[in-house]
Structures are given as C-alpha cells and as structure tokens.
C-alpha cells in the first residue's frame, strides 16, 4: 500500500511541477462563484472606463442644460441629471477612471514601497529590522484618514496626490505582511542552497524569497484595493480629493448633499458605483485567499 501511495504521490507531484502556479490558482478560482462575480463586476467597470476614454469627452460631462435640472432617472438619462442638468450616468462612467486608478495605483504604490522595506527588514533582521519596524510603528500610529488629509493638503487636491495619500496609508500593512512572510520563508533549505552557490543577497530576496512569500501579499493587496477605493471616496467626500468639477464618485456624493430632499438619485448612484467596485475587489480578494491558501490543498 505504501508503495502504491508513494507512486501516486510522485506522479501527482510531477504533474503539479509542470503546471505553473498561475494556472493552478486560476483553476481553483474558477470554481468559486463569488470570485467570478467579483471578476465580472471588475471587468465591467474597467471596460466602461475604457469606453469613457474614447466616447465620453470632458465637454459631454460638463455640458449644462438649464431646462432639465434634477430630472429623475429615465431611459434618456439612466441615472438622472444633476443641479446643472448634466447627465449623471455619463459623469459616473467618466468618474470610474479615478476610482480604478486609485484601486490599482494606490495599492501598487503601497505594495512596491511596503514589499521593498518589508523584505529587507525580514531578510536581514538585526538593526535594519529594528529601525524599519519602529518607523512602521510610527507611521501606523497616525490614522490613515488624517495622514491622507494632510498629504492632500500639502501636495494639492488632484488625482495623483490622492493616490499617493491613500497609498501611503497602506505601506505599513504591507511592510508587516511581507516581513512576516519573508521570515517564514527565510529559513528554508532552498534559501540556504542559494546562499551556498553564492547568490547576492538582493538576488536571493527577489528571486528566491519573494516569489515564495507572495500569496498573502496578493490576497491582501486585492482586498486592500477595495478599502482604498472607500478611503479615497471618503477623502473626496470631505473635500480632500479630486477637485470639484471632476466627477469623482466620492465628490459627486458630497455635491449631492445640498439636494438630498428633492433629488436623492444624485446620492444613490455614485454610492452604488463605489460599492460595486469595492464589492468586486472584496469578493476577488476572498476568492484568491481560498485559491492560494495551502491549507485548502486537500
């Protein structure tokens, strides 16, 4: 029995060795209904963003129509019109670019900086580790919203600065996470082997350690995309975001506050857009966690 088991085991491991991890993950992700729903929502949002690049001009979304103010949703204007008679649907579709940029840009920014410092900290240990971790403690003891507000105030209210502001508040989390996963990988034999054949330390980090500790980072980054969208919308809502004439979703909600009693649709739809994007990221993050979690490899 044991021989048979061994034979099966070696066959399976052979098969898996040839199959790239990406394919394996995708196969498992495919069976997760939630993740697929999230992926579809995300693709729809990205496609509508691409559509807006080519077919919705800035003139379209700022064109005023004094005769058609506060129109409720109709076939002609699916989301209704705002206080200047502008079509809210077009504004929301146009505004998707800001939130998608935040979702990918802010998290990417945080990820690059966080992983760089986190892996250095985890790999080298000692005094480097201590300095980086103490700095991380300090950054993370400043509330994210506050840091975001201050950064936007200094740099000015536009998309790039909002992106940096939201990205900075993810750095501490990514430093901790990548440090922890590097620590668990560092003591493996293959890292020792890489050292033995004389690889440089940075090469070991980037070719041996990081690829093997990347799963939790992917999961956390995807989930973080959703919270970043929410954080950016919150900052825009408070007036620390993309400046007013631009239809950022949070700013649209903020602008609707003066018209809540007679035009609530101005508040409903941008909120639903934010929710859809954050929901998609959360679902996808959950699905990825299940697909990448080695504990579930039954």
């Amino acid at each position: 029995m044991s021989k048979k088991k061994q034979a099966t085991a070696s066959r399976i491991s052979d098969q898996y060795r040839r199959e790239p991890r990406f394919v394996m993950t995708w196969k498992r992700l495919r069976t997760n209904v939630g993740a697929i729903i999230g992926l579809i929502i995300l693709i729809v949002i990205i496609l509508s963003m691409l559509y807006s690049f080519f077919f919705i001009s800035y003139q379209d979304i700022t064109k005023m129509n004094g005769k058609n103010k506060y129109a409720p949703p109709s076939w002609e204007h699916p989301f209704g019109t705002d206080e200047m008679g502008r079509d809210l649907f077009k504004r929301c579709v146009y505004g998707s670019r800001y939130s998608v940029a935040i979702a990918f840009g802010a998290v990417g920014f945080g990820l690059v900086i966080g992983v760089f410092f986190g892996s250095i900290s985890g790999y080298f240990g000692g005094i480097v580790d201590m300095v980086i971790m103490r700095l991380t403690d300090i950054i993370s003891s400043i509330p994210g919203t506050l840091l975001g507000m201050v950064i936007v105030t200094i740099l000015g209210a536009n998309l790039l600065n909002l992106l940096i502001a939201v990205g900075v508040s993810c750095i501490a989390g990514f430093i901790r996470l990548s440090r922890a996963s590097v620590l668990t990988v560092r003591s493996n034999e293959y890292v020792e082997a890489a050292k033995a054949i004389g690889m440089s330390e940075f090469r070991i980090i980037f070719t041996q350690v990081l690829p093997n500790s990347i799963s939790p980072l992917i999961v956390s980054a995807t989930a973080r995309m959703g919270t970043s969208v929410l954080a950016a919308a919150g900052l825009s809502f408070l007036g620390f975001g993309v400046a007013v004439p631009n239809p950022e979703w949070g700013a649209l909600i903020s602008g609707s506050r003066n018209h809540l009693t007679y035009a609530p649709h101005l508040c409903y739809f941008p909120g639903l857009c934010i929710m859809a994007l954050a929901f998609a990221c959360a679902l996808l993050g959950d699905g990825l966690r299940d697909a990448l979690d080695p504990k579930l490899n039954k």
Binding site: S141, V150, G234, L238, C267
Partner: protein, 318 residues
C-alpha cells in the same frame, strides 16, 4: 504584567514625539498659513508683519515646534490658533460625543456580529452561510458616509422618525450609530466566522462532544472560548479607530465630535489644534491596544503563561 504595561506606556513617548513632529511639519509644509483668513485689505504691511510675528511665523518651523514641545512637556497642549480656546477644553467638550458614538456602534457591531458569525460557521457551505457572506461583503464595501446619507434621506427626510443632526437626545444617536456600526457588523462577523471555523476541527471539541457536553455549551464555551483572540483583535482595532472620531460620519450628521474638529483644524492650518488632537488620539489608541493585549491574557491562559515565562526565553540568533 504591570511591568509590561508600564513599558508599553513608556514606549508611547518616542512615538508621540515622532508623530507630533511629522504632523507639525506636514501641516507647516502645506501651502497657506493660519493667518491667511485674518488678513484683510485695511491692514498695512506692519500689521501683517505683526500678525506673522504673533504666531511666530517669521521664525523657522523648528523654533515653533520646539516652543510647542516645551509647552507639551509642561502638560500644556496649547491653544487653538483660531478660536483661542485651549486644545484640552475643545477636545474634552467634544470627545464625549465621539466616545458614545464609538461605544454604541461597537456594541451594536459585536452584539449582532458574533451570533451571526457563529451561525454562519455552524452552517458552513449552506445557503445561510452564503447569504451571510454576501451580506458581510456588502457591509464591508459600502461607504459609511453613503449609508449615512441614505439613512438621512429615508429616516430623517421622508419618514421623519429621527432627527437629521445632533440635538442631544438619544434619537439623534440611532442613525449615526447604525451607519457607523454596519461596517463593523460585517467585519466582526467575518472574523468570527473564520475564527470559529479555524477551531472547529480541533480534537478537544470531539472530546467534549464525546463526553456528552451539550452542543450549546460546546459552541459557546469550547469553540468560542478558543476563537476569542482574532475577534478581540478586530473589535479592539475598531474601537481604537472610532474613538479617534469618524470624520465622515461626523460630517454627514453635523456631529459635534473630535473627528470633524480635526478636519477643520487641518483645513484652517491650525497646527496646534491638529497636533493636540492627534496626540490625544494617539494616547487613547495606545491605551485601547494595551487593554486589548491585557484582555488576551485574561481570556487565554496560554498567553498569560507566556507573559510570566517571558524572562526565561532567550532568542537564539542565527
């Protein structure tokens, strides 16, 4: 454990020094100064220069920071540069509103989320579990300020059940507590579900069931008892964040709390008020985190023994 707490509190000092420096410096870097709104056209050059001198704006930032820290060393958080009131009086008059809002929302979140999370974990994989998961997913992806506005439109605007802004009565609490607590329900519920699932395969549960412990007791004492740590971590983090004031919720409901006060302080470049609020928030946050750490030891004897056995353990350096 007392020693541990004392060390934790002392470690706050360098953090506060760094954080105040960062905030002071960043607010200073921001274009515009606190006197901008005070200058009008009738002022002469000398008046303006005098105004600058009054706020030490003619001196380098490090001098102002030094003065501020010197005051702080003597327990003086300074006075708001705009209203002239002391930071402490402004903070302490508004903080109770934030405190109650935060506590009620966390209580709402905990009371609803833990049974819901246990329920979902007990029925893992069933339709009820999927529905709960969908609900929590919506909860964590719904912007709280949007939910707040929706509640305003329906319950304050159309149905007129609850007031739209703070009026000091309990009715004013209902909408903001719900808007604030909804995301917490979702977050704590997810954490509870996964923590319960994590322990659900443990051997001691089988033992308990085998010796005939009622299922209810297995769930609440054996299972939940071993799943507390991540749940408490989550609740503690939420309390820590909300005690600093939820700026967006306070903005939606014109709530006289500290969160929106901080927003206004930054908008007006009132660096003293901003720094003071941040310092007090940091202290509150750290105390909450410390309390969470001590609660760990209270709920989990394994952690308690780790505190006591700490001195004997030595790190082996590679």
């Amino acid at each position: 454990m007392l020693r541990y707490s004392a060390i934790r509190i002392l470690l706050l000092i360098p953090i506060i020094i760094c954080v105040t420096f960062i905030i002071y410096w960043l607010v200073d870097l921001a274009p515009g100064t606190v006197v901008d709104t005070m200058i009008n056209e009738d002022m002469t050059e000398e008046d303006i220069a005098a105004l600058y001198a009054r706020y030490d704006l003619d001196k380098p930032m490090i001098v102002r920071y030094g003065k501020y820290m010197w005051g702080l060393l003597h327990g003086d958080l300074g006075s708001s540069q705009i209203s002239g009131l002391t930071v402490w009086s402004q903070f302490s008059s508004r903080w109770p509103n934030t405190l109650w809002l935060a506590l009620f929302s966390v209580i709402l979140g905990t009371v609803v989320a833990i049974p819901l999370g246990i329920f979902a974990a007990k029925h893992a994989g069933s339709i009820w579990d999927n529905l709960t998961t969908a609900f929590t997913m919506i909860g964590i992806s719904m912007p709280s300020f949007w939910l707040g506005l929706m509640l305003l439109i329906w319950f304050a605007g159309k149905l007129k059940i609850f007031p739209a802004a703070y009026d000091g009565t309990w009715r004013a609490f209902v909408l903001p507590v719900f808007a604030n607590g909804f995301a917490m329900i979702a977050g704590i519920c997810r954490q509870t579900r996964s923590a319960i699932l994590e322990v659900s395969r443990a051997d001691f549960l089988r033992t308990a069931r085998a010796k005939g412990v009622p299922e209810r007791q297995v769930t609440y004492r054996h299972e939940l008892g071993n799943a507390w740590i991540p749940i408490i971590t989550q609740i503690g983090a939420l309390i820590g964040i909300t005690l600093g004031g939820s700026a967006v919720i306070e903005a939606v409901y014109s709530w006289p709390g500290v969160g929106y006060m901080l927003v206004e302080a930054i908008q007006r470049r009132d660096s003293v008020l901003a720094c003071g609020t941040v310092i007090l928030n940091c202290i509150i946050h750290a105390v909450v985190l410390l309390a969470v750490d001590l609660i760990y030891a209270a709920v989990d004897p394994r952690i308690k023994s780790a505190y006591i056995g700490k001195k004997k353990k030595r790190k082996v350096t590679a």
